[in-house]
Each structure stands twice: as C-alpha cells, then as structure tokens.
Homo-oligomer: 135 residues x 2
DNA sequence: TTACATAGTGTTATATTATAACAACTAAAA
DNA sequence: TTTTAGTTGTTATAATATAACACTATGTAA
C-alpha cells in the first residue's frame, strides 16, 4: 500500500497509529484512535496528535477538515499533503479520496483575481454515494 | 451588502452576530464572537453557535473549515451555502471568497469515478496573499 | 569516542471548539 | 384561540486540540 510514497521510517507511535488508520475503511477521529491504541501503550491525546501531525506532514494520511477525522492516503499520484480532494457521503459518511488528473491540474493552475496561484488546496465534495443514492 | 441574497428576517441574536462578522475584515471564531457580543446580552456559547448554524444554513456566512472560523458571504453569485471556495494566506491568515464562474462551473460538473455528481462542495486554497508575497 | 543537534516520548494540565437537555418565550398559522 | 414551529436563556458537559517540561533515542561531526 502507498508504494509510490517515499519511505519514511515511522517511529513506534507513528507506525501504530498509521496502521490503525490504514486498516480502517472510514476516517478515524483522534480520540477514537486514542481508545483503540491504549492497549499498545499510547495513553495521552498528545501522543496521538503528534503522530497525526507528522503523518499528515509526510502525506501518509490526510485530515478531513469538515469532519475532524483522518484517512490514509491511497492515492499514489497525489501531491503529498499539498493537494487533496475527497467525496463525502452525507448519509453514510463514506469518504473517498479523488484521484483525477484533470481536477488536480485544473486546481493547481487556478489563479485568483490578482493572478496568484495557490498550489496547495483541500477540496471536499458533499452528496450521496452510489449506495445511498439507490436506497 | 449581499443585495442579491434572499432577505431572511434575522432574529435579534442572528442580527447581532451577523453584523459583527459582516463588519470584520477577517474570519471570526465562535468564542471571539462570544466575547464581542457579551455586552449585547449574548452570554453563552450556545447562543452564538445557534445563530452561526442558522446564518450558515441560509448562506449569509460561511465556515472556513480548516480554521474553525466564520466569514460573511460577499459573493452574490455563490450558490448559497452549497458551493464555496476560498483562498487562505498562510502567513497573515487573510481569507478571500473566490467568485469565479469558471471554477464553480467546473466543480459543479465534476463527476467522480462512478459518474456521481456532487454539487455541494468546499474548496480551500492555501498559499501567500499578494501582500505577503512582496515581503 | 565524545559532544552536539534533532526529533520523538511520556506526562500533567489546560485551552479551545461544540453540543445535550430542558424550560420558557414569540410569532404566526389554523 | 389553540397549536405549531422556531427561537431564546441557562447550566452542564462533551469533543477536539495544545502548552509546558523533563526525559530518551538517534544520527552526525569533531
Ligand atoms: Zn492522498
Ligand atoms: Zn453513503
Ligand atoms: Zn458566499
Ligand atoms: Zn498574507
């Protein structure tokens, strides 16, 4: 998984927390992570947040800002932690990372009124996933 | 201001809080709003959050998710609370709402892998504003 | 090797952001 | 008038995130 990512030798806590997020099918919240890793010796919020910060920084995970939750990056072409896009289902809360060359090119080239480029961005789409649409 | 918006007869608290946000040159955080309106009789966080929720719902303000802050909508063409885009300066924290027909059309028409459309979205660009670039 | 720098850890305490629950009030529709 | 939906005021509490400090591991350079 994430074969395209530069290998960052994760530390013990970083590895424990990344593995948990990576195995999860949906985004995890910091305190839910904490409860799940207490048996592995991680006892305090700060230990979790420090690992999360690092993992976000190196692009192994992303934060879903509107949900205060974290998801593993499974998008080998994403510009590590700099340009992220997701779809979020408002019913089942399923989150999927978008991997679209067209979208990322469009956004990376977007200029504001002053002609400024902002190559770092976060985009969150909301709506219904396929499953929930059929219900 | 916001002449294009449907008039929603704001209640007392909603008006107090909207006026404060509307006058501000930068996004305001909930508790900063609270401190600023205590002299007007709004004493509890819930009173602020309830007004904020309503104002977001009717599109008079937007939440900047990555900053947990609120900004008045000054974009007459934005699709009320459904499709928002901002630039955020990582140095001075200046936030500007983007009003680009091209961008909003592109995003409103974006389809994911399954061909699903998600007309509601929030996009936050990060980088340096003009001022901070020149420093 | 030693010294130093950099990054990570463990811990306690605290700050910040947000919601639950309930009683009371207001305005407008039926 | 009765009812309804929405808003208000209030207390308490939940959920999310950081400050500060002492200590430990690891790599690098003298
Ligand atoms: Zn990614
Ligand atoms: Zn769904
Ligand atoms: Zn707007
Ligand atoms: Zn700036």
């Amino acid at each position: 998984m994430n074969k395209m990512h530069k290998e960052h030798n994760l530390t013990k806590n970083q590895k424990i927390i990344f593995d948990l997020i990576d195995k999860s099918s949906q985004p995890l919240k910091a305190y839910s992570i904490l409860y799940n890793v207490q048996k592995k010796g991680i006892k305090a919020p700060l230990q979790v947040y420090r690992a999360l910060d690092k993992l976000v920084e190196i692009g192994k995970i992303h934060k879903i800002e509107s949900r205060n939750a974290f998801i593993a990056c499974h998008n080998s072409s994403c510009q590590v932690a700099k340009a992220t896009a997701f779809t979020i289902c408002e019913i089942c809360e399923k989150v999927t990372e978008i991997s679209s060359t067209g979208l990322s090119k469009y956004l990376a080239n977007f200029k504001d009124k002053d002609g400024m480029k902002y190559s770092k961005y976060n985009l969150e789409f909301f709506g219904l996933c396929k499953k929930c649409t059929l219900k």
